[in-house]
């Protein structure tokens, strides 16, 4: 422990250098901006700024690029709350109650809770990263394809169990999402599936067009301007902040979300995205007023936002400790390190202690910077809601089109967004929750790959899922939850 503290002090001595602080701030600022803009995600921001870092040393480069990553998690909640447009899959759950709070005039409270919850979760995640990185990474290494399959099945069943709509409706939406996720090139055989000879669909249906269509455009289609009461909201500064009751209601969801998010985030792969879904489901299930979820429950914002940020911090554990990227973003961050002559992996701590501990210390600093950056901007963001809806919704449509197009510069994505907007309109009419559809889409590639790899490993024997202890435990929990749901 003493060694860890000494190392952390070394890290802070690096992180508090003026030029390092400047690059941390730049990364956080750009990250917040790309998070606010739907479609322009952290991967785009990091990729754009990667060449800028060529002239910097490894420490400054990785600190700035990482700042974009966790800064975007803060920014993504802003458009989710104000416009119901999720910038990424991890912001989807915030759309539900965050936007409902905004419609009730509590946008400031939602934004503030999201910012503070993200700060607390981020700080928790960094603390855990500092103390537990090596042993947790070793545990995460034990996750093979059967464990992944079991974890993802549990995620889906968990969501169905916690859902306020019926089990059948939730699972139906999850099936639709899984089927959407099967579109494109099959990674194991290279065969095109359901792509209608469109090469743009080779990589599958994107999450951003689907999420923006279902939640953003779908909401606009269901809301003609005459339905929106045109009262101009001019809240006082004190009304922008959460009430004491709202702080109290947010505390435990933030705590639970932080722990859940970090544990899910350390698992290599994109499964950490399900942390916000799971957090929302848990909060709704254990709430004394579950009927408030979807209509502006503060816990529905606090929990998922905390889980989201803790997971993004947890994603650094395998990257730093083992040199294992957990997804495309950490892969680009690793590439940035390698460009600067630093090989991530177990030897990073001993061979480049200033880079390792400087990076961790800068995360503490960056997390605080993001809180100080976002809280004062709450008033500015809330002022967007003063715009009359007749002016606002065309602007939102503009952002939807631009944001979706800028992901891959493909018009097919814009058409997908439009189709999903129509689907979202009808899902509302027929009382289906679109969130499980997005979850199914997100996990489909990993789920299918893990399932098929498991069967190849076992020679076609499905008992492999029962023979591996952790996989068996997860499937048993899934079975129990299903039995309790029926």
């Amino acid at each position: 422990m003493g060694t860890t503290i000494d190392s952390l002090m070394l890290g802070f001595s690096v992180a508090f250098q003026p030029d390092v602080l400047l690059y941390a701030f730049l990364g956080c600022l750009v990250g917040t901006l790309v998070g606010v803009l739907p479609g322009v995600g952290p991967l785009a921001g990091i990729s754009i700024l990667l060449p800028v870092t060529f002239g910097l040393d490894a420490t400054k480069a990785i600190i700035m690029l990482a700042g974009i990553y966790y800064g975007s998690q803060y920014g993504g909640s802003t458009t989710s709350i104000l416009m119901r447009i999720p910038g990424e899959a991890s912001s989807v759950m915030t759309c539900l109650d965050g936007y409902a709070m905004a419609r009730k005039g509590r946008a400031g409270a939602a934004l503030a809770i999201a910012a503070v919850g993200s700060f607390v979760a981020g700080t928790f995640g960094i603390l855990m990263l500092t103390l537990l990185a090596p042993p947790l990474a070793s545990f995460a290494l034990r996750f093979g394809p059967p464990e992944y399959t079991a974890l993802l099945v549990l995620g889906l069943v968990f969501l169905a169990y916690m859902s306020s709509t019926s089990l059948v409706r939730t699972l139906l939406m999850a099936c639709v999402g899984l089927l959407l996720g099967c579109v494109g090139i099959d990674v194991m055989s290279g065969q095109f599936r359901y792509a209608f000879d469109l090469k743009e669909l080779a990589d599958g249906v994107g999450i951003v067009p689907v999420a923006v269509g279902l939640f953003g455009l779908g909401e606009i289609l269901s809301t003609p301007s005459r339905k929106v009461q045109g009262e101009v909201m001019q809240p006082k500064f004190s009304e922008l902040m959460p009430t004491r009751d709202e702080w109290r209601q947010s505390a435990m969801p933030i705590a639970r979300g932080s722990v859940l998010g970090f544990l899910v985030g350390i698992v290599p792969g994109s499964a950490h995205i399900i942390s916000s879904f799971m957090s929302y489901a848990i909060e709704r299930k254990i709430s004394k007023t579950p009927e408030e979820f979807g209509t502006g429950a503060i816990a529905g914002v606090a929990g998922p936002e905390a889980a989201n940020n803790a997971a993004s911090t947890g994603a650094f554990v395998p990257m730093l400790s083992l040199g294992l990227p957990t997804g495309p973003i950490t892969a680009v961050l690793m590439a940035a390190l390698m460009i600067h002559g630093v090989s991530p992996g177990p030897q990073l701590v001993t061979e480049h202690p200033k880079v390792f501990w400087g990076f961790i210390a800068s995360m503490y600093v960056g997390n605080l910077m993001l809180l100080l950056l976002n809280l004062p901007l709450v008033g500015l963001f809330v002022s967007v809601l003063r715009i009359r809806y007749a002016y606002l919704y065309p602007i939102i449509i503009m952002f939807c089109i631009i944001g979706v197009y800028e992901v891959n510069h493909s018009l097919i994505d814009v058409w997908i967004m439009l189709i999903m907007g129509v689907v979202g309109y009808f899902l509302r009419k027929f009382n289906f929750d679109p969130a499980p559809l997005v979850l199914g889409l997100v996990i489909a590639p990993i789920f299918e790959l893990s399932l098929r790899q498991s069967l190849v490993m076992s020679g076609g024997d499905y008992l492999i899922f029962a023979q591996r202890p952790f996989s068996a435990i997860l499937f048993a929990i899934s079975g129990l939850l299903l039995a309790m749901s029926v």
Partner: protein, 161 residues
């Protein structure tokens, strides 16, 4: 409300309910998945093919859709659904479709400017001066932000910008 009466059936009536329509749509979707993926090999348990997961999920979806159909008695009648937002939805879909179709032809500034002006002034009947100001201002500001600051390539269109 008059329930549907199948011809020749006396005393037997079915009220078309919301979940009847939903279940039917999902059953059709499941059948479409089977038909479209009929040439994808299912593979063997030891070597699962690209058709395995879509087939299994579509089968599960069909079973769940049938369950929804059987449970549809508690859902509200389809005729009670409100469709007063449908004209607005159609207009937005048409406008967005037009913008998508012309995005790479007319270019970003012209397409987005026309979209904003068309919706704000043409559909919402807001004052023309305000509509023009917002359309031009938002289009210009967004274009500068994306093109100059974020260096995002924008489709030029026939006007060269």
């Amino acid at each position: 409300m008059q329930p549907l009466r199948p011809y020749g059936c006396r005393g037997f009536s079915v009220i078309l309910r919301r979940d009847h329509i939903a279940a039917a749509a999902l059953i059709l979707l499941g059948i479409a998945v089977f038909l479209l993926g009929h040439d994808l090999p299912f593979g063997t348990p030891a070597s699962p093919g690209p058709g395995m997961l879509p087939t299994l999920v579509a089968g599960l979806m069909l079973a769940l859709a049938v369950a929804l159909l059987l449970m549809s008695g508690s859902s509200p009648p389809f005729a009670t659904l409100e469709w007063d937002d449908l004209p607005h939805a159609v207009i937005v879909v048409v406008a967005t479709s037009a913008a998508a179709a012309s995005y790479t032809v007319l270019g970003f500034p012209v397409t987005i400017g026309l979209l904003l002006f068309g919706l704000i002034w043409g559909i919402e009947r807001m004052p023309i001066a305000t509509s023009l100001a917002i359309s031009i201002g938002m289009t210009g500001a967004t274009y500068m932000l994306l093109k100059s600051l974020l260096k995002q390539p924008m489709p030029p269109g026939i006007f060269g910008f």
